[in-house]
């Protein structure tokens, strides 16, 4: 094995807050399904919110810039070393492969045959009519800002071709932004809290062992394509603040256009994205060989599957997930300490008047629906497609979740409860 070059960025898992941090920027595991679905939900509102494309790109620019500015400030790197470090981290995080060698202070062109968003979109939705790699585009602009130590927003990237459109490669043109626009730096770690992992006495699932195993698994993009194939999905070590900034900007834009009605619509859409995430990610995990090897031998009953997934989530950088109350087939009440949604929201916007843990709320409902409506534990391998998803909602009493407490509203933790509708 070759030694990691000292100008390469990796970061580490912080066990006292269940978070991955790389140059102060928190990373969370999410899969291709959530990445594409969340983006599709946001883009579906483009007729009402034309700013949404800029939100998707600028948010990526802010997090990439903030991370690499931090990283480069710690050591003296040459321009070539900075470019190599950025390409390496892009691959490590599962975003694909990029080469920045054609970039100079005027900008330039980046071409790639492997881009997570382009590939994932095509896999999930088929061919797209327009370019879809907003994240990659913004990431590149932020990276170039960091390489040349210019204020965030100095550069701009536009996508000229896209794998998701059927093009052989995705091509991004980076240039100086006109008119000038100053973007904000990210909220880095945000308002996190310290906690410790607790072991439920009601299960044989070894929470600590699962977290240890998963946080030591080499979940990183392959050298060939920069993608992370694991748990039956394409994973990314994505920026927590990217998800939060696009989601909360979307919420605020909707509120500005439509008032309280807009708030309700945006909340429902973002929670639904969390539900879809659970369906595909948790469902994919439960059908994976990682699950068969690591978790399944610990499971004594179908109800234990809930504990199995909660144990896995504690290694995803999403904070501490802890079951407070669980009545099989009836109720799941789950506490989240230092959840990335509240950490991020508090730092950027301050205290909220409403619950904001949309991903977690949708995720808790999705988990109960997988176990008790689709009855995944009782079935062999199934295709997690639209038909299966519809089965959940065609059930008389599927699970819906409500956020009862929220750290962003001043509580000590998030509390989410899923019950049958």
């Amino acid at each position: 094995m070759t030694a990691l070059k000292n100008h390469f960025l990796r970061g580490s898992f912080h066990y006292d807050r269940n978070a991955y941090l790389a140059a102060n920027e928190p990373a969370v595991f999410h899969c291709n399904h959530y990445n594409c679905f969340l983006q599709a939900v946001l883009l579906d509102t483009i007729d009402y919110i034309p700013e949404i494309e800029s939100v998707l790109k600028d948010s990526a620019q802010e997090v990439a810039y903030s991370q690499f500015k931090n990283f480069f400030s710690q050591n003296h790197f040459s321009i070539d070393e900075k470019k190599e470090a950025i390409a390496d981290y892009f691959q490590f995080a599962g975003f694909g492969k990029i080469d920045l060698n054609e970039i100079d202070t005027n900008g330039g062109v980046v071409k790639t045959c492997y881009d997570h968003y382009g590939i994932s979109w095509k896999i999930k939705f088929g061919l797209s009519k327009r370019p879809v790699s907003y994240f990659t585009s913004g990431f590149l602009a932020g990276a170039v800002d960091a390489i040349y130590s210019t204020p965030c927003g100095t550069y701009f990237s536009s996508q000229q071709s896209c794998i998701a459109k059927g093009d052989k490669e995705s091509l991004f043109r980076i240039s100086r932004r006109l008119p000038k626009l100053k973007l904000r730096e990210s909220q880095s770690e945000g308002n996190y809290s310290i906690h410790s992992l607790s072991q439920s006495s009601q299960t044989g699932v070894d929470y600590s062992g699962v977290r240890e195993a998963l946080t030591h698994m080499p979940l990183e993009g392959s050298h060939e394509n920069g993608l992370i194939q694991a748990f039956g999905v394409l994973l990314t070590r994505h920026y927590a603040n990217y998800y939060c900034n696009i989601s909360y900007s979307f919420l605020r834009l909707f509120e500005a256009k439509m008032g309280f009605k807009g708030h309700k619509i945006a909340t429902n859409l973002l929670t639904e994205a969390g539900h879809v995430c659970a369906f595909n990610t948790f469902g994919g995990i439960m059908q994976s060989n990682e699950w068969n090897a690591l978790i399944r031998p610990m499971l004594k009953s179908h109800d234990d599957w809930i504990h199995g997934i909660v144990a896995v989530v504690n290694a995803f950088g999403w904070g501490f997930w802890e079951i407070e109350d669980f009545i099989p087939n009836e109720l799941l009440r789950l506490k989240i300490f230092s959840g990335y949604e509240s950490n991020s929201y508090l730092a950027k916007f301050g205290k909220s008047t409403d619950p904001i843990s949309f991903l977690a709320t949708g995720g808790v409902a999705g988990l109960m629906n997988l176990i008790y409506v689709l009855k995944i534990p009782q079935k062999g391998p199934i295709t997690l497609d639209k038909d299966q998803y519809k089965l959940i909602h065609s059930s008389n009493k599927f699970f819906q979740a409500k956020q009862i407490k929220c750290r962003a509203m001043g509580d000590d933790f998030d509390l989410i409860e899923a019950r049958r509708s």
Binding site: Q287, P381, T383
Partner: protein
């Protein structure tokens, strides 16, 4: 005669995905035979939790992923739709291995 059963699932448009149930628990000999097809990775989960089993994966770019659990009968195979003939090759290797054990 085949020494396995399989179920197809389809979570991605571009891939065939099959879960095989083998007649015997997977051994190192089967892993060695399949590892001709790509890059082998092994994850020793039992080091972290004694009840867990060990996982292996064999990957070839975006064309192929085989994964399984040592001492278990499940084998998952994901193959690009551009390369269906590799399924026949995998099944041949399973049958050869299984015949030697029978």
């Amino acid at each position: 005669m085949n020494h396995f059963k399989w179920i197809a699932t389809q979570n991605c448009i571009r891939f065939y995905k099959r879960t095989y149930t083998l007649n015997h628990d997977i051994s190192q000999a089967l892993i060695d035979a399949l590892s001709d097809l790509g890059m082998l990775e092994q994850f020793n989960f039992s080091e972290y939790s004694p009840s867990s089993k060990d996982l292996f994966k064999i990957k070839l770019d975006l064309e192929l992923e085989i994964s399984g659990t040592l001492s278990d009968t499940y084998l998952q195979v994901t193959v690009s739709r551009n390369n269906p003939e590799i399924l026949a090759l995998i099944e041949k290797k399973i049958n050869q291995w299984s015949t030697l054990l029978a």
